[in-house]
């Protein structure tokens, strides 16, 4: 049954969500080990014209430092990055961030699918992707791409989500064995992270 938690030690953890995911994201971030052995990238759909204040609210709610990357910045272990509003965020060659203003995908910019797909090409199995509450279909193709390269995928249980559409769409495409409650995702993630020397 538990095909999902393969528990490769990841080099990067991607956390994505939309409507109703903010609390879950902050809760996940605050539960992570103080000395992060990985890079963490958070991608939440949000208002495109609110450029300031988001990082601050994530930091105050989670108690963790977090910042939006600039284009072509190198992804560094130990940091928490936030996808900027009104851009797509890719992981590019050489483990760098790359931004784009291409049209919205699934009405979304940033697109979770584009982030997950691009990270899967660069990180392969050394990654964990977590999909949380949300109101559209974004992320389903993304988690499939992550699973296809052997990365670890956790989909939040739609029943406990404020809005279950997004995790439900992902589970429908990828399989219900990837679905877990947030508390279980936190435990599994920290187990994998703790495994590293």
């Amino acid at each position: 049954m538990s095909k999902a938690p393969q528990e490769h030690p990841p080099a990067i953890v991607l956390i994505a969500g939309s409507a109703g995911s903010f609390q879950a994201v902050c809760s996940l971030l605050s539960s992570l080990p103080g000395q992060l052995p990985v890079a963490v990238v958070v991608c939440i759909h949000r208002l495109k014209d609110v450029r300031h204040g988001f990082a601050e609210s994530v930091m105050s709610r989670s108690g963790r430092q977090a910042a939006e990357p600039v284009d072509k910045e190198v992804v560094r272990s130990g940091r928490i990055y936030l996808a900027p509003a009104n851009y797509h965020l890719y992981i590019d060659t050489g483990r760098t961030f790359s931004l784009s203003t291409e049209e919205a995908v699934n009405h979304s910019r940033p697109s979770i699918d584009l982030l997950f797909q691009s990270a899967a090409r660069v990180y392969g199995h050394s990654m964990t992707a977590i999909l949380l509450s949300g109101a559209n279909q974004d992320g389903a193709i993304g988690v499939k791409a992550v699973a296809a390269v052997g990365g670890t995928v956790y989909i939040q249980d739609p029943h406990e989500c404020e809005v279950g559409t997004m995790p439900r769409a992902a589970a429908a495409l990828l399989g219900s064995e990837y679905v877990m409650r947030l508390a279980a995702i936190q435990a599994a993630l920290n187990r994998t992270l703790g495994k590293r020397p």
Binding site: R51, V70, K72, P84, Y87, D92, T93, S100
Partner: protein
């Protein structure tokens, strides 16, 4: 066509053929977004990688369509209103204090929304007669759209919102007429604008400017090409000239970074302080 079906080898062959046959070099474009653009072009026309290669070999005119497809032409008027407010309140008045006339280069102007935004701003500042604007893009199809200054009416709501936040002193609607589902902006706004085809990759200088606007263009390039292009910008700026890049773009890894000072960190405006 799905993302798995375009291998790096296929992409390499496409880049190589377009470079040798047509002189457009995409090899230093940012890999992830360029790959995605090529996939989109193939999806739109239901082409497989080999079909695309065949088209390049047999239909020379196809390259224009390809250029339009792979370059990103999504933009708004007065995108990032804070930048336009800064131009209105600080930077352009400062330029006026220093010079009788000045020149602006919009590099990678796409469908021209920022050129038009600049033209409107300069008219409201009563500086339009002092300026020469050059607007360039790699894509001639998009340049003709920019010249027409005609955009979908449905974009106006976002444009008006930006215009107001950017300190607009009139009404954006007063600069255009509605024609069905389009709005057509007053051609007189573009009377000081010269549109021309220019590929930032092949570089070269064609003048000196007091202000270069190149926003959300560098993000499509890798660091090597960003460095080359920013070096060209530095060479194309008059002493004390200004460079505005996109809100999430950085000059940090460019060789000429220390020849600029940061004028406004949030709006990413730099000033050339050394040759």
């Amino acid at each position: 066509m799905t993302s798995e079906e375009l291998s790096d080898d296929d992409l390499g062959s496409i880049i190589s053929l377009v470079r040798t046959r047509y002189g457009y070099d995409f090899s230093n474009y940012a890999h992830a977004s360029f790959r995605r653009r090529v996939i989109r072009v193939m999806e739109t026309s239901a082409l497989r990688p080999n079909d695309l290669l065949t088209k390049f070999l047999l239909e020379p005119q196809y390259v224009d369509e390809f250029l339009t497809g792979v370059t990103v032409n999504v933009t708004e008027m007065f995108r990032d209103p804070g930048l336009w407010l800064f131009l209105r309140n600080s930077l352009l008045p400062e330029i006026r204090r220093q010079a009788q006339s000045f020149s602006v280069w919009h590099a990678g102007c796409s469908s021209g929304q920022e050129v038009l935004s600049m033209a409107i701003l300069l008219r409201e500042l009563e500086m339009d007669h002092l300026v020469q604007i050059t607007a360039t893009d790699i894509d001639t199809v998009i340049l003709s759209q920019a010249r027409a200054a005609t955009y979908p009416a449905k974009q106006m709501e976002a444009n008006v919102k930006n215009y107001q936040k950017a300190g607009g002193i009139g009404s954006l609607e007063s600069y255009c007429t509605v024609e069905g589902r389009q709005v057509r902006f007053d051609q007189a706004l573009l009377s000081r604008v010269a549109f021309r085809k220019h590929d930032l990759v092949s570089g070269g200088s064609f003048g000196k400017f007091d202000l270069i606007m190149c926003r959300n263009v560098l993000i499509y390039f890798n660091q090597k090409l960003q460095n080359q292009v920013v070096t060209d910008f530095h060479g194309s700026l008059n002493p004390g000239g200004f460079l505005a890049v996109g809100a999430k773009e950085s000059l940090a890894w460019c060789d000429v970074a220390n020849r600029f000072m940061v004028l406004d960190h949030d709006e990413k405006i730099f000033r050339k302080v050394r040759e």
